[in-house]
Every structure is written in structure tokens, then in C-alpha cells.
Symmetry: C2
Subunit: 339 residues, 2 copies
Amino acid sequence: MPAPVRRRNGIREVAAAAGVAVGTVSNVLNSPGLVADETRERVERVMQELGFVRNGLARQLREGRASTVGAVILDIANPFFTEAARGIEDRLAEAECMLILCSSDQRPERETRYLQMLEEHGVRGMLVTPVQVDVEPLLAIQRRGVPVVLMDCPSPAEEICSVSIDDELGGELAASHLVGRGHRRILFLNGPLRTPQCAARSRGAQRALRRAGLEPSQHLFEVVLPRAGTDQAESTLDQVLTLPAPPTAIMCVSDLVALGVMRLLRRRGIRVPDDIAVVGYDDVPFAAELATSLTTVRQPMYDLGRAAAGLLLAESDHRTPPGGRRQVYRPELIVRESA
Amino acid sequence: MPAPVRRRNGIREVAAAAGVAVGTVSNVLNSPGLVADETRERVERVMQELGFVRNGLARQLREGRASTVGAVILDIANPFFTEAARGIEDRLAEAECMLILCSSDQRPERETRYLQMLEEHGVRGMLVTPVQVDVEPLLAIQRRGVPVVLMDCPSPAEEICSVSIDDELGGELAASHLVGRGHRRILFLNGPLRTPQCAARSRGAQRALRRAGLEPSQHLFEVVLPRAGTDQAESTLDQVLTLPAPPTAIMCVSDLVALGVMRLLRRRGIRVPDDIAVVGYDDVPFAAELATSLTTVRQPMYDLGRAAAGLLLAESDHRTPPGGRRQVYRPELIVRESA
DNA sequence: CCGCGGCATTGAAAGCTTTCAGCCACGCGA
DNA sequence: TCGCGTGGCTGAAAGCTTTCAATGCCGCGG
């Protein structure tokens, strides 16, 4: 029954109702110190009565400074990005900013569309985990005045900042832990090597072996899983287990793959870690709760997101000249029961 | 070295460079049919050269119609909301809209702040999972012309739509499955009962027993975990297991709690499901991958998010009068090994 | 009594787009 | 030849805010 208010009351209606000029209302909002107490209180009362809500669009248009930041990530259902998003959001909240979160689902056309929508929307800046490493479009955006920070991907261009995790170190940590425990036949269930992160972990693992005086090709066997699905892992694993000299340890590209591996091993009556050791990657929440808790590599995702947002805000305030910063976080080996 | 373009070129610069009026440029963008081919091509070329990007803020200001939708959820790290967010995003993408995702972290003051920021930002509408069930502020927002749809919470007010999941049914499904398998001493590790979802599941479980001709107070033992942490579960469980007649089945408020329970049981040498059956709730991705895979209740979170977004868009287009719709999804029991 | 500094307030301009009434020129029918 | 319709284009207004030069007023010092 209550006829819905079609048009929102603006600053103008407030001014009229309070018997002051629009400028005064604006001052009440933005520089209360300039307004006499009596006037201010009156205006504030009227605002209350009218249910006044500032029109942020007009404000940003005028100020030329947005209160939103865009993030284009690969997959919102992935705990990795979810943790990063928390970090981003918390940092943005400190600057009174909000996050527009876009999931590209690894599809380049979707990424492109979101980048354009965000730029049109006038965001203060963008955090991007690119599907492919083609920075040209991002450079163009940045040249047009919208700062861009790369997430989880070391920047290939001097002009663009990036925040990433040292995946090579991550691979090395996992592998050298296994080598240190005496393993000499290590299976690495890795992701596609065209993904820079996977390639880096592979290099790191090899480095670990070499540092231990072992020839990688003799001791490290790498299998690429097309998608990070666990099904694929199963059949691969079954083949490997029938070899005359099966591996004594398995490094996995993610905790979820590790989980699938452990499940299969258990079914085959193979004990973890006594018969075969398993190392995961990510340290998702359930890793610690498993029957045999998972040894894994933790990535500081929250900090990563937080730092990326901080960098972006600094650039967008011109506190920092754009580009040139390449922040790299160190992953950490979490030793539990599985290896 | 390349002097960064400080001010973006607008429609005006394009018009000047192409030797046409601003109105014409606008027509090229919005009603290409009205513009002669030759002119259109010239304008488009100039846009390309100048790297023109439409100013969405000004556009929305003029049109009075935003291309963003806000969502205030309880926790972005929770897979439940993450899946819902996917659904929301996919539906919004169809309408060329973007999602501003805000995580209230269950803190009322944070929720309030986000609601205000979103309203000021002029979003097209809001999807909210409220921390407390106080709809008054939401009603006020909706009266000011911004539609609100409640997510995962049946609407207590006629004027506000909601999309939720039948938690009572969920509790009933889990309990009646256990009863059907002969269990007569069931422990329910539930969440705080002031959370409507938890209270509903409790009612559902009791209903299941009554339907089976059993007196709930004799067969269903409910323990409230203050937070959904697994630590709490452990100590509680240890006490219960020492009872003369320990439970033969455990219903958990979430899969993560179920995981903690199973871990503890295994440590105590209790077999699942032979000695004690365990049922989870949520069906998170790892539930199927566990050593003894988890019987659990799946919630159609993607569909929930998608439907909520659809409802909101319909309201914001005035295709639908506001309010009155209360959509309820059915959870589904997924029977696996643990019960 | 005059002049001046400072406080409180004012109202127009600017920010960028979309919309729309209006203008011009051209071609066709009468 | 005139009148009219129309396709194509124009430019001002509107949408809501913030900013800022300008105004008015008061009191104080000279």
C-alpha cells in the first residue's frame, strides 16, 4: 500500500526542506567544520526525515575518484582465490572501498569482457590474475589511467606491478623434504606446464634434487594431469603402481589431487606414509583434518591479496609511480603425517 | 617515458576529433542505426585511435539504472557462499551486470556499513544473507527504491523476496536415513539454535523420529557447538564416547565438523560406519574423496544464487512487483560410505 | 564612524553521458 | 514551383554531486 518512492531525494530536496543552499548540504556531508552547529543539526535532521542517501555515482563522477576496485580472478570457487579475496576485501575496507569480484572461469573472452566492463565502470584500479600472459591489453588500460596489479603471476612488464608466490621455491620445498626423508623415486602429479605456476614448481623440484646431488631424470618422474580433476589421477596412478619399481613418494599439484591419491592408495591397501609418502599443495582447511593429515605447501594467499590491494591503492592515489614493483611471497612447507 | 594520459578522453573529445556533435557520438554507441554509415565508421575509427572508453558512471547517472548488483554474504571463504556467488555471477553476466561482493564476516556493524555503501553506490539491487534477522533496515532500503532479495533465509516480511533452502527437510533427510538404518541413539552436533538454519534442522530431525514412531527426547541427543570449529567438537565427542550407551550415529552441522569427528573416531579406534555412522552437511568437494566417503546433505547453492539474482533482476526491471516471492529449494541426501 | 578580517552561506560551474526537440537539406508528389 | 516528409545531425538540458569564487554580515581596531 505505501506508494513506493520512485525518485530518491537528493541533496537538492534536503536543501529545500532545510531552507539552505545545496552547497551547505554538501558541506554538512563533506566538511562539517565549515557549517554552523545549528544549521548542521537542522540539515542532519532533515536528511534523517527524508531518508536521504548520497548518490555515490554523481559523487565519484564529480570527484573523478572511484570507491570500487575490480578483481578478475580465475575461479571464485577455488579456495586459493577465496582466501586472496578476503585479503583484498579487508585491505579495501580500510580505504572505504568495495570490491567488484569477477570470475573469468579461465575463459579469455570472459576476462576481456570483464576488463572492459570494469574500465567503463570507472574502477579505481584492477587486480588481475590473467588467463594467458598477454599483458598488452592490461598495459593499454594502465596507460589510460587505471592502475593494474597482477596477482599470482610475476609481471612480465616493467610498467605493471605484481604480487606472486615463489612457486619454484614451493616445488623445491616439497621435493627436498621428500629427498631428505630418503625418497629416491618421486612421482610428481603436476598440472599443465604451460601454466607458469606449474612449470615453476617443476623447476623447483628438479633444483631440489640437483642440490642433493641427484640426477632429476633418474629420481623425479613427472606426469601432467590435463585438468586438476582427481579422476585422471586415479588411472595414471594405477598404471604407475604396477611398475616394477613404483615410486615411494608422490608430490601433488593440489591438496584435492592429494586427497584423491590417498583415497586410491588406501583402497589398494597401500599405507600412507609408510609405503608411499604424499605431499599436497595449498593447505586448504581440510588438509589438517584428514585421517592421516596432509603434509603440504602453504601459500600465503590472504597476505597476497592484501598486499596486492595495498599496492593498487598506493598507485591509484599517485602515492607511488606506476609499475616497477614485483613482490614475491614465500610458500611454507607444513609437515604433517602424510610425508 | 610515455607521459601517462591524465584525463580520459570522453565523448566530447571524440566528437571534436571526428567533426561531429556529441549527440552523434552517443548515437553511434547507443543507436547505431540512426547514424549514416560513413559517419559511424569515422566516429568508430576516432574512438579506436583515441582509446575511448565510455564513462559508465556518467551513463548510469543519466540513465538512472546501474549495472552493478551488491551481495552481502556471511563469509566469502565458505564454500556454501562461494558456490552461490558463482550462480549469482553467471546470472548477472547474462544481464551485463557485475557483482559487488561484500563479506560481512558475521559482524552486524560491517553488514550495516556495506549496505549503506552499496546503496550509496546506486546498485541495481542487493542480495543479502543477514547476520541477524532484522529486516527493518532492509525494508527501508527497498522503500527507497532498491530491491532486496534475501538469500538462504526465508523472508519474515511480505514485501521482501527470499530464496532459501528447506533446512527442516535437510535435517529430516539425514535423521530419517539414520533411523532407517536402525540407529536409535543419534547425536546431533548442531550449530547455535539462534541461527534459524540450525533450529530448522533440529526440528526436521525431531520430525523424522516422530514419523518413525520414536520419541525424539529418547533417541536424539543434541549438542550445540558454539562456533563451527572442529576443536570444540573433539572434546564434546570424547565425553560422549565414554557414556555407558554411546551414540551409534552422529549428525554434523557441516562437512568440516564431520571430518573432524571422523578423524577423532579413527584415532580412538572406532570404525566408521561399522561402529558409528557419520552424516555431514553441505557436500563440499572433498566429501566424496575421503577415505570413507561422506554421506551428507547437498544444498543446491549454485541454483540458489542463480535464482536469487534472477528474482532481483526481475524486480529491478519492474517486471515484477516487489516482494511476495518466497522460493524454497530442496536439499538432497547423498548416500556414500560413512552412513 | 570607517575599514577590514573572518565566518557562514550561497549559487553557478563542472564532471560525462543520454535524450530530445529542433534544424537543415534533399527528394518526391502535387 | 511549392509543400511536405524524412533521414541525419545538432546542441542544450538533465541527472546529482562537489568545488569555489563571491556575497553578506558581524565585530573589532583604528
